[in-house]
Every structure is written in C-alpha cells, then in structure tokens.
C-alpha cells in the first residue's frame, strides 16, 4: 500500500514517457490475504464513490462494480508486470485490481487534476499505461480487439528470441452484452487464427443494462469461443480463488504459445447498471433475485479463508486508505478551462478555437 501524496499533483506523465509507458508496480495479489484486501478495497471504493455521486462531487455518475469484485481480483492476480488489459464502462474494479492507486482513480472520477487521466477521462475512460491498463472504454466490446492488437505486438516482440520468451498476455474484460457485438466475434477469430496471447474474460452479470442475457444470447458464451477453437471455461465469478485458478491456467497456456483462452465468469452486480438507475423505479429483476445473489457475496467467501484478525486488520487498513483517497481527491484542483483541449494531439497541435479571435 502506498500513501497518497499530500499535494494535488498532476497526472505526472511527462510527454517524453509516452506509450509504451515505463512499467509501474502492479498490485500485490499473490496471497489470499492480499486478494481479500483488494476485494475490500474495490467494494469500499465503490461505496465511497456512490456517496460522492449522491453528493454531486462525481459528475455524470458511475457504473458500480459492487458484486463482481472476484472477477477483477482473480484475473489480475494471474498477471505479471508486462501484461496488459482493456476494461469496460464498469471498469473501476479492473483498474484498482491491476494496481492504480485509489486516490488517483477517485480524483479522476471527480474530474480533478490529480486523477489518473488528469480529469480528462473520468470513470468510463480511466487508464494507466504504466500498468498496461489500455483504458476502460465507453463502447461495449470495443476493448476486445484493442487487447488483441496489444497481444499481437507482444507476440511479435517475443518472436525469435532465444531462449523462447514467455510472451506477455493481454486480457480483454467485457460483459455478456458484448457477446452480441460483431467486433468481438471478429476479435475471437483473429486471436485464434494467429494464436495470440489473449485472455477473453466475459463477466456475465446476467444483464445487458436491463436486458436479461437469457433473452439476448443465442447458444452460449462458451459455445461462441468453442466455435473459433478457443478453449473456454465457465467459472463461478463470485469465487475469487476459482477465477484465479482458471485465469492462471489460461494465461500459462497463452504465454507458452498455446493461443487465446476464454473465461465465462458468472457473476452479479448488486447495484443498478448505472447510478442514474437509483433515481428511477425500474423493475427488470426482483429483490428476491438480488438477495439470493447476496448469499454468494465474494467478500465473505474470501474472508472465510483467513483468520478473522487478519481480515479485521485489512478492513481497517482499507478504510484508512480510502479516507486518505477521499481527502486527496476532494482537495485536488479542478482543471483550468483554458486547457480543456490539452492533449488532443500528441504532437501538441492546438486546434482552432470555436470563435473568431
């Protein structure tokens, strides 16, 4: 755990260290205790963020990850520093589990200078190139082919090395809704044809916004992977250790040149699709269904593997870290409107203003 800096620093990415960024330090997730801590951190972060949406500090709202934490933690625990991932509109869990400091992600959600993207991306575009996080993404399915491209680059970089290199992998997180995006199917084909080191992770939380997966997906997620000759595994997405074990198997195979893998993690979101849903009275699932899934909450399951004194210590440490993150984010400066189009072009080109001078 690193304490946030006191000053509201900028994103701190000098122009010369552009892609590919210097490797950062991924979150430690090697032990059950570390994984429990990350589950708690994501849960606590999202609860804090819900409050900050309600208070108006977070503009635009968020897509809460609460309930799905085991997927992000299990998968990211299988990764190495040189690996990369693409995330989704519901991306806070992936970004935190990979190692972005919560104070930087929270400041990003608040649109502040100290955010991971300097307040330019917000919840749906949080990125941390130093950790191989090639961005959360606002378009369903869009991250999958980007991960395939990163995997292609990694495969080419490793090609011809003696002794044969263990290839870094790229993970594409997506939801059940993305199963119906054509570009995802194109991505599966390219990854399989070229035996690319990609792990496709389908987080099936049962709903594409409000549309039940049962009424939207013909055949099955694993069947789609199988049609491209990609080994697919279905796993309990509420069980961190099960997700981790499956991810390790797929990632090991991919690193050794065995091609892509596909995980379907059956999971559930306890909150609405988006915080905006809290203001509406939508009835697309029953309170009984939500309660039934609460029985399978990944946090108590992970805690059960640990000494209660350990989890209590982790809970305290997470609470302190999040309190500091909140303090940092709220104190971080708002960006200067004069720089609204900073970074539009990587070469510093300034676009014409919208009015005649």
């Amino acid at each position: 755990m690193t304490a946030p800096p006191k000053a509201a620093a900028g994103p701190g990415t000098p122009a010369e260290s552009r892609t590919p960024a210097a490797p950062g330090t991924p979150a430690p997730l090697d032990t059950p205790a570390e994984r429990y801590r990350m589950l708690r951190l994501i849960r606590g972060f999202e609860e804090l963020a819900l409050g900050l949406v309600k208070s108006g500090a977070i503009p635009g709202g968020i897509h809460p990850y609460i309930g799905q934490e085991a997927v992000a933690v299990g998968v990211c625990s299988a990764l190495l520093p040189a690996d990369r991932l693409t995330s989704t509109h519901r991306g806070h869990g992936h970004v935190l589990a990979r190692g972005t400091a919560p104070h930087r992600l929270l400041a990003e959600l608040l649109g502040r200078v100290g955010g991971s993207n300097g307040g330019r991306g917000g919840s749906m575009h949080a990125a941390d190139l130093s950790l191989g996080i090639l961005g959360a993404n606002g378009i369903v399915g869009a991250g999958a082919p980007i991960a395939v491209g990163a995997a292609w680059a990694a495969q080419r970089a490793a090609a011809g090395q003696e002794p044969p290199a263990r290839t870094p992998v790229a993970v594409a997180f997506f939801g059940d809704g993305a199963l119906n995006q054509g570009v995802l199917l194109e991505s599966l084909n390219l990854a399989a044809m070229w035996r690319l080191p990609v792990l496709f992770v389908c987080e099936d939380n049962g709903y594409a916004t409000t549309l039940p997966a049962a009424t939207a997906v013909a055949g099955s997620a694993t069947g789609r992977a199988a049609a491209f000759g990609i080994p697919a595994e279905e796993v309990d997405g509420m069980d961190t250790e099960a997700v981790r074990a499956a991810a390790l198997r797929a990632v090991e195979r991919a690193r050794g040149g065995g091609g892509p893998g596909f995980l379907v993690c059956r999971t559930y979101r306890y909150e609405g699709h988006h915080t905006m849903e809290r203001r509406m009275k939508l009835r697309y699932r029953t309170p009984e269904e939500v309660e039934a899934w609460r029985e399978r909450d990944p946090l108590p399951r992970a805690a059960a593997l640990l000494d209660p004194a350990v989890t209590a210590g982790q809970d305290r440490s997470v609470a302190e870290q999040l309190a500091a993150a909140e303090e940092f984010a709220l104190a971080s400066e708002h960006p200067d409107p004069a720089g609204a189009l900073d970074h539009l072009y990587a070469d510093g080109l300034r676009p014409r203003a919208g009015v005649t001078p």
Partner: protein, 322 residues
C-alpha cells in the same frame, strides 16, 4: 532521373518507413499480394511479421492497430475501398483519435490509414466511390490528400512518423499522375500548403486530383485571369496562414472540393475566409451536390463530381467583382 508514379511513390514511402523503423507494420486485405499497388513486394522484403494480410474484419483489425499502437508499434492500415472507412469510423474517430485526450496525454495512437483509390473510380458505383476526407477533418483527425507522386511519398512518410492517427487519401483520379523526379525524395510536413502556380487575380483552393484540373483550367484562362493554384495538401490541420497570404495577393477565392456540399471542407474554407481573411469578391465553391451518392452510369457519375466547366464559370463569376 526517374519517372515516378503515384502508386510507386506510396510503395516507396511504405518500404522506406518499414526499413527505417522496426515499429512500423502494415495491416490490410490482399496486401501480401499487393492487389492495390502500394504494398507490392513488401511481404517478400519484410515478412509476414510486419506485413500482415488480414481476414475481412475491418473493425477488428483497425482496433487491433489501436492496441498495437498503444503497445509501441506504428501500424499502417490499407483500405482498398474508401467506403470501408464508414465501417471503421468507430475505431478511428471514437477510439484512435480520442485516446490522447481521454488518457490525459498518457497514450498516443500513431496509426496511419491509407486509402489508395478514394473518390470516383469510374464505374464502381455508390459504395466504392466516396471521398470522406471532410468527415475525418470534421472529427478532428489529421487528414491528408496528396495531389502528386512526390507529395504522396513525402506526406505518407510524415503521416507514419506522426504521433497521432492520420488518414491519407490517395484519389483514384490522381493515381495515373507521373512525375519526373531529379531530386532525393523526402518527407513533406503535414499542415503545409503548396502553391503549384502563383497568380494575382484569384486563389483556387484545390485538393488531390482536382489540383490537376485547376492547373489545366488556370493555363487555359491565363490570357484573361491570373490564377493562383493553392493546394492545402493537408485538410486538417489546414494551413490558414498560407491561405491568408494568398488572399492578400488575390482577394478572390474559389474552392473546388470533391466533398458533398453541406458541411464539407469547401464550406469551411469559405466560412473562414468570410470571417477572417481578405476578400474583395463573394467567394465560390464547387462541390458534389448535397448528400450525393455517386450513381453508376459514367455520365451520371461525372455529373455529380466537380468539373472543369464549373471551375471556369466560377472564375469568371468572381472576376466580375469589384
């Protein structure tokens, strides 16, 4: 001394960049065989690890290029048909172009799209004859339309080296152009206009193949009208300073533009000239009609493209003022 064709110029630019920078790679359909021309021989020379024949999955391979670029490569994508750009507008305008700003400058996406054979190709009909450079400029992507072989060579090299995504349109009607080259080919910076012919009465802004039409008409009317042929070469970013200087000399403006009329590049040039630059006569623009779809029959296809006759007429019209 060499006779350089437009397509060969693109081929040499790709080969020179592939040779100069191991990060450069090429994705596209039928590029191994070199069907469209610019990639001829590149697979043999650089191998399948850098010249990658892709299945017909434009959306996935375009987004793949975004991912490869984020991982440090400089991909070039060849699209044989200009209308395929509509299919990948999400991957280009909504992903590649937005990464730099949305990540707060952490990432850039140095990819280049090459469209050899944009605009009408005579007889290829509605879905193979678009010329959507205005659309990409409107979205804010760097957009290049070279008129000559040496500009095609130099601008493509600069596009590949640029840290941002760039779309390079090589108009079908400019591909037959050949140029005698007696000098070393060199990169041409993006965003700099070229004056092909100096003049004092009227500035004609022309792009791509229409530069050659403008030069032909300028020669014809030379006894009566002194025409300056101004080729921006880059649609975005546009060289406004050079246009301002040209209009200081002429004060009269005609734009000939192979875009649809409404919201097209020609409209932007006229609007900016009207607001900010020196004009002594109402400007004119010659474009495709509003919302045009190019019909198949050759006479119909030609009827909706800007013509030399329309340019002559516009030149005489602006000369009536003041």
């Amino acid at each position: 001394m060499t006779r350089l064709s437009y397509t060969k110029a693109l081929n040499r630019a790709l080969a020179d960049e592939l040779a100069a920078d191991p990060a450069v790679c090429v994705f596209g359909e039928d590029i191994g065989a070199g069907l469209a021309g610019p990639t001829l021989g590149l697979l043999d020379r650089f191998g399948p690890g850098r010249v990658v024949d892709t299945p017909l999955s434009e959306q996935a391979f375009t987004a793949m290029a975004v991912g490869a670029a984020l991982a440090g490569r400089r991909p070039v994508l060849e699209f044989q048909i200009p209308s395929l750009l509509f299919l990948v507008f999400e991957q280009l305008a909504n992903q590649a172009h937005k990464f730099s700003l949305m990540t707060g400058g952490q990432a850039s996406v140095p990819l280049t799209c090459l469209v050899p054979g944009s605009g009408s190709r005579d007889g290829w009909a509605g879905q193979h004859s678009d010329h959507p450079y205005s659309l990409f400029a409107h979205a804010g992507m760097k957009t290049v339309v070279p008129a000559t072989p040496t500009d095609a060579y130099g601008l493509l090299r600069s596009a590949i080296r640029d840290p941002d995504p760039v779309v390079v349109f090589a108009p079908a009607a400019a591909l037959p152009v050949r140029e005698t080259v007696t000098w070393e080919l060199a990169p041409v910076p993006l965003g700099r206009a070229r004056i092909h012919r100096p003049g004092t009465d009227v500035t004609v802004v022309a792009l791509g193949h229409l530069v050659h039409d403008a030069l032909a008409v300028a020669e014809e009317v030379a006894p009566d009208i002194s025409v300056e042929v101004f080729d921006p070469r880059t649609v975005h970013p546009f060289d406004w300073d050079a246009l301002a200087a040209s209009l200081e000399r002429t004060g009269r403006l005609v734009v000939i533009d192979d875009s649809n009329r409404s919201c097209g590049f020609g409209a932007e040039v006229l609007a900016t000239a009207a607001e900010e630059l020196r004009l002594i006569a109402p400007p004119r623009r010659i474009t495709r009609p509003d919302g045009a779809v190019l019909p198949f029959a050759p006479a119909l296809d030609r009827a909706v493209q800007p013509s030399r006759e329309q340019l002559r007429h516009a030149l005489h019209a602006v000369m009536k003022h003041p």
